[in-house]
């Protein structure tokens, strides 16, 4: 939530920020998108909030898959082999 916002604007901004995630995910109805974009143009607090939220999401989206340690893979296949032999009995 933007930190420094006047009391009057607070309520309005709060309603806007709740929709930011959906906006980022392109899940927001067109009409609301437009409303939000207009608000962002005029409200620097929300703009900063939106910018940092977007960066956060971008960072997490760019995290790569963890690679499987070789030993872990070995043990996985050993376990599968065991399950298979049990299943055949």
């Amino acid at each position: 939530m933007p930190k420094i916002i006047s009391k009057k604007a607070d309520h309005h901004c709060r309603r806007m920020t709740a929709a930011f995630s959906e906006y980022l995910d392109k899940d927001l109805r067109k009409q609301l998108c437009r409303k939000l974009e207009i608000h962002l143009t005029g409200c620097s607090d929300c703009r900063m909030y939106f910018d940092t939220l977007k960066r956060t999401v971008t960072l997490y989206r760019s995290l790569e898959q963890e690679t499987l340690p070789k030993d872990t893979e070995k043990r996985l296949f050993a376990t599968i082999k065991l399950a298979r032999s049990k299943g055949k009995k």
């Binding site: 940092t52 960066r55 971008t58 997490y60 599968i80």
Partner: protein
């Protein structure tokens, strides 16, 4: 598309008892499954347990499982549920109802480089994972599945047994939490 067809063939062969085909399916998905479990559990040994449980479950349910296109989703669901079950059992990280505490990052790595530039640094990746671990389990699962693994919103909701609005609300709350905790990195870059 071709990969999908190959996977369907592998699945059918695995059902017919071809162990080599089953192993190939495992190889295709093992990193993804391990990755999700590791991010949810924050422990390599526990992630390894979940990895094994997931593929044993797949092996045992091969004949019940239909629809090759959803194998990845199916495995995500197994891995997520096994991980959440583990977390519930150990309760090490507090319950879902615990309020989000807005922690300040304890150790700040070099901020000279902008986050995106230092993206590849393992140090910064560790910070992202560290912050993720501070979220309640289900909120963390939402971020892992939606933002890191890139699943559709409705898929995430289904896997976690949430309604779509509930999932979206959790997602926003979690992103906000992470944003706040990472704010030191996000400015001036």
């Amino acid at each position: 598309m071709k990969q999908q067809i190959d996977q369907d063939i592998l699945l059918q062969q695995a059902r017919d008892g071809n162990s080599r085909s089953f192993n190939q399916l495992v190889k295709l998905h093992q990193s993804r499954v391990y990755s999700v479990a590791l991010r949810l559990l924050g422990s390599q040994s526990e992630a390894e347990d979940v990895l094994q449980e997931t593929f044993i479950a797949l092996y045992q349910n091969l004949h019940h499982f239909r629809g090759g296109s959803k194998l990845a989703t199916y495995l995500f669901r197994l891995a997520t549920n096994f991980s959440l079950m583990k977390l519930r059992r150990s309760k090490r990280r507090g319950s879902d109802s615990s309020p989000l505490s807005l922690n300040v990052i304890e150790e700040l790595p070099d901020k000279a480089a902008s986050p995106l530039e230092s993206l590849l640094s393992s140090e910064f990746r560790a910070v992202l994972d560290q912050q993720l671990q501070k979220l309640p389990a289900k909120d963390r699962a939402v971020v892992v599945l939606r933002d890191i693994e890139g699943l559709d919103g409705w898929q995430v909701a289904k896997i976690l047994g949430l309604t779509l609005p509930a999932m979206k609300s959790k997602l926003h709350r979690s992103r906000e939490f992470l944003r706040k905790n990472l704010s030191g990195y996000l400015k001036d870059s």
